[in-house]
Amino acid sequence: MASNKKEIKEINASSMADIAFLLLIFFLVATTMNVDTGLSRVLPAIPPEDQKVEDLDVNERNLLAVKVNTFDAILVAGQQTHITQLKDKVKEFVLNPTNDENLPTRKDTEIEMPDGSTWIYPVSEGIVSLTNDRGTSYDMYIQVQNELTRAFNEIREDVAHQKFRMDFMSLAEGERDAVAKAVPLKISEAEPVNVGGN
């Protein structure tokens, strides 16, 4: 009689911690935590073959040629430039603060705001044209791309402050799109050429 009344023994749970540890260690080994970050770009589409290559009618003052050679030296509009000066040169080129005749024109453009109104902003027509050589190091190429992006990001930041009195990143999505339209990221990469001869 006494044995019938006996309840089922509790399962020993002391090994649960060991099992959990094993699982934990498995996940530590088999997974990675790194978040992928990078500079996003959109490549130009290849024009159809039957289409004639016609020279785009870009006014010379609207083009800033940035060239990087095999020795990682940078030439901006014909002048050798150090990487640290690149950002300010690009900013000056895009903004054209003194209305210089050799710097790009600015065209008043209507930008639709998320609240339905329109905002007229003189959008710069400048295009940064980046040319690199086959021998340029990837590190330098990324540094140049980074500096170009930084120039545009700083201008966007300034515009966001003037227009909305807020940081660019803390704006609502529609407002951010409007600022991005006011300061478009115009970086064009020329068709690859082999300048350095290797």
Partner: protein, 158 residues
Amino acid sequence: MAVMKKKGKGGIPPISTASLPDVIFMILFFFMISTTMRDMEVLVKTQLPDATEVQKLEKKQLVSFVYIGQPTPSQEAQWGTAPRIQLNDSYRQPRDIGEFVASERDKLSEADRQAMTIMLKADKGTRMGIITDVKQELRKANALKISYAANRTLAQNQ
């Protein structure tokens, strides 16, 4: 009094470890959520360049990776030290990229195909020649959204 004496004899009672599994499970779940599976072995050295203006890639499933760099030391005996392109699990030539892009695109749903991004993970010591070849192949394959992988740093040039 007798009862008190009996209790005092045992000294400090052992710390209960009953909640230890729960704690470990919590850590386990944290790692399961915040990490991603290592899905392939990288066969090339990719020491990424540094940049300050990098952006996070939003949707992981829309991203395909192209690795470019020197073969890792274990592969050097067979493949030498010239930079190579790795697609999926093996070294490939630039001309294979079109096929790779097509197969990656097929994995995505119709709506997501436009948003497909190719991330170039290239070693910072690589020359631009091989990267230009890859970019040209990507243009031919009509995979125009790309991202140059880089590590986030704070102010590198000041």
